[in-house]
Symmetry: C2
Subunit: 315 residues, 2 copies
């Protein structure tokens, strides 16, 4: 079979878990992870790409399982010191993590693209799979909330998701060009499946889908598009997905996430705990254990997802 | 007496020791330290000012007595990580130290001057004395050596002073404007003395003296100009001063340093160990214990230097 490439769309923590599972059961050249960059931002003069970094650290085995972001074996001397100098200290940057932000910022200023930097860093950290930003152009998620329009990291980190969300916008997205390597891969005729990882639909996946040309390229792959529900038992595993759904007037359910993706989906993987919502879902549903606690869980869910995709492809 | 202001020209370690001694025996508003910025450089995209930082950390009690540079209670996670990402790792930046470079770089890019950043950082770290860069314009010390012209930090840190020095140049110095606050202070009529700290003459003091207008302003202060020898017993306490003197064809002696400063000096403080060279020195010589091991040594040498200056003023 020549349709071997798995393309996975991912945000941070939850998506990175499934990406890791996929990376462990697929040959290195059969996985391309498309990273959301809508929550990228500039902080302390540094260019920070939280989802790329979580994916990178997770795939390199450097992630911090306690926090879900940043690096393991981290130290915090920089943060201890920056506040005393008048620097902003609401966004936590570990000393090891900082090396990536400093080096990336240097290279971007020197003219490299975010894709080039990401590819090189992944190579240096021994990651076999490709990780690419959805676009090298600047897209910034903004949140319309009960305290007005605010930047995403202001909402997410500084205000710890406390503001009530009314609307999300992706500044710059209408002018952003999709990453050419991603489009080329999707249109190469060799895509086995496009997987939408169990990430927050509104802030992790929809920025990717909003890039002009991205949905068309996904459809043009002629590969089954399969999403994994980020909602388990009517709640999000981590992060503000459930709160955000409530505030946006949506039911907090796996079925509501599937409805959000609409006819983009061919398949949908959801937990047994949410099985009573199956009836309303247009895509072909696979019921599975979707909570990924162990490494085995990650691999097992990756297998279930690929099996579901392959079953759809052979219909 | 209205001539109360002490202006001290300083490089890094040795100069900072005397500056600390001065800061402990003078009221805060009577000390202005002029910092060499010839060894400033851009590294990993960050603006680094080694002499300002050594002065700042020393005066704030945050210096690392073991290294002579950087901060005490330092950690090195950033350095541990940067090399694996392809970043340059020959210049050691501690995690706490890094906070200053990141915050300074951010502010300089936002349009603040180096003087403004330095003043604010000193205030935040509780330093009473003023520390000001010799100029807010870019001056970069370059070294003509047996391996060609090289940047100062390349010579000093990367190649650990191994190249043989033939000549020093201060790129940008002819266009650099002296720090206006320093000139105003020197011309205010309130200067008690100008002290040239026991720093390397060639790479720490001469960049300051080479700024157009700086020597004139020093002379116009009408205050005694007193230097403290960085050579003790025919050797430098730390750093490449002695090696550099030999390579430049100079005798390694306290007297040769005095000769280098020439008729700029009214007074010269040198160690008893070098007393046999006194006869050749044009300035009024004071013999003192110039090795500063303890805090008491720093204060004592500061007192000797001020006494010598006051004696010259009352002649």
């Amino acid at each position: 079979m020549n349709k071997r490439l798995v393309v996975a769309l991912s945000g941070g923590v939850g998506g990175a878990k499934l990406a890791l599972g996929l990376s462990r059961i697929l040959p290195a050249d059969e996985l391309l992870v498309v990273a959301n960059t809508g929550d990228d931002f500039e902080h302390l003069g540094l260019s920070i790409s939280p989802d790329i970094d979580t994916l990178t650290y997770t795939l390199a085995g450097l992630d911090n399982p306690a926090t879900g972001w940043g690096r393991r074996d981290e130290t915090w001397s920089f943060m201890d010191s920056i506040g005393a100098l008048g620097g902003e200290d609401w966004f936590k940057l570990g000393d090891r993590d900082l090396a990536l932000h400093v080096e990336r910022t240097r290279r971007l200023r020197a003219g490299q693209t975010l894709s080039e930097v990401t590819t090189d860093v992944c190579r240096r950290l021994g990651i076999g799979a490709r990780v690419l930003p959805m676009s090298d152009d600047r897209v910034r998620t903004r949140v319309r909330s009960d305290v007005g329009w605010i930047d995403f990291q202001d909402y997410f980190v500084r205000q710890q998701c406390r503001p009530v969300v009314h609307e999300l916008a992706f500044d710059g997205v209408t002018l952003a060009r999709p990453n050419a390597d991603i489009v080329a891969a999707l249109r190469s005729g060799s895509v086995r499946t496009v997987i939408i990882c169990p990430s927050n639909p509104f802030i992790s996946v929809e920025p990717i889908l909003a890039i002009p040309g991205m949905r068309d390229a996904m459809k043009a792959s002629n590969a089954p598009i399969v999403a994994v529900s980020p909602i388990i038992g009517g709640e999000a595993v981590k992060g503000p997905t459930a709160k955000m759904m409530r505030e946006l007037g949506l039911e907090v359910s796996a079925a509501a996430v599937a409805a959000r993706y609409g006819d983009l989906l061919d398949g949908y993987i959801m937990d047994d705990a949410d099985a009573d919502g199956v009836g309303t879902i247009g895509a072909r549903v696979t019921i599975a254990k979707t909570l990924m606690k162990s490494l085995d869980d990650r691999e097992a869910l990756a297998r279930v997802t690929l099996d579901a995709a392959d079953a759809l492809a052979s219909r």
